[in-house]
Subunit: 185 residues, 2 copies
DNA sequence: ACCTGAACACCGTTCAAGT
DNA sequence: ACCTGAACACCGTTCAAGT
């Protein structure tokens, strides 16, 4: 449960920061409380990072990398675009019902650092979605619009899951609706 | 530019709080800076509100009421559901490109007070959307799902407008796509 | 009733001193 | 190199005292 020697690494602080985000959002990433939790004094924090912002940065990059990796991995389960689309929609609607770091971050993107991390993840996903829709027969701009639309739905569902979760209970029917709506060329 | 007598009302503080939200988000609603801006000392704040939370509450309710009123008003321009839907979609996509209080709040809804205000606005809108889709021929649960979907798109576009604004430039094409996607019974 | 001014708590940041 | 402990700045909250 505890190390006897209090020699921490930047990674220790980053992981603690991500845990804090899950629990209380970005503003819960506070140096003094994190230091208490890690069993050191807040002064020692500045041996690892220049300031709180640098910690937030590093923690977000850690999350971002893991997140992009997972997304890519889920796509590699199949080469068929229709199957990939369904897999992503299912993943999206089920993720929308869980409380994740992503959910937290989406809702705190007035922070420039959060926005930057989200944008990088979003860009990767939009490009992949665009490829899928192109393969499904939607030409250039139409494919791009459809990808934007699909991703907007995903983001919107993430948000609505917090506001009106009672509307997202019939997940299967919702996925079916999404497929019907997005599937037509 | 200034009143000579510094006798403030709760409304003065609420309006200042909303301005602060537009500028810097919810965390910019800070008693001491607001007091400075209003030309009083922070101590006097507590003659009007019990604490910062009560000010946030009051400011959000002020915004909420004005917002619901505007939404209802825009619906009353026509009785035809198809026209109403198009009007809402147009309103939504153009609102998505502006920086509004709503945009700010959506992205800060890890705050319980913000969530509550957003939920009240969302409920009103979802019910109205459901009515429209019912009138357009979508029976009970299908109408509800379609309303959820339409609203998810709206929320998602609000978010994407911040992340990837370059994808929302062709507004007309996007509205057309939305109508096509959402219009089919 | 509303405002001032001083006080205290909490967190971010700095820094001299320890190991 | 990393940690401690004390310092200072800033904001939330309280309160006695003014008008």
């Amino acid at each position: 449960m505890a190390r006897s020697v209090k020699q921490l690494s930047p990674e220790d602080w980053e992981r603690a920061a991500l845990e804090a985000i899950v629990d209380g959002g970005l503003h819960a990433v506070a140096v003094e409380p994190l230091a208490r939790r890690l069993g050191v004094t807040k002064g020692s924090f500045y041996s690892h990072f220049r300031d709180r912002g640098e910690l937030v940065d590093a923690a977000l990059r850690r999350w971002e990398q893991a997140h992009i990796d997972a997304f890519i991995a889920s796509l590699q389960q199949s080469d068929d675009p229709a199957t990939q689309l369904e897999a992503l929609l299912t993943l999206a609607t089920s993720a929308a019902r869980k409380g994740t770091i992503q959910g937290r971050l989406l809702l705190e993107s007035d922070d420039a650092r959060v926005r930057a991390a989200l944008k990088r993840v979003t860009d990767v996903r939009l490009l992949r979605l665009e490829t899928i829709f192109t393969q499904l027969g939607h030409s250039g701009p139409a494919g791009a619009r459809r990808a934007t639309l699909a991703y907007a739905i995903y983001i919107g569902l993430l948000q609505l899951a917090r506001e009106v979760p009672e509307r997202l209970t019939d997940e299967a029917a919702l996925v079916a609706e999404l497929l019907r709506v997005l599937g037509r060329p």
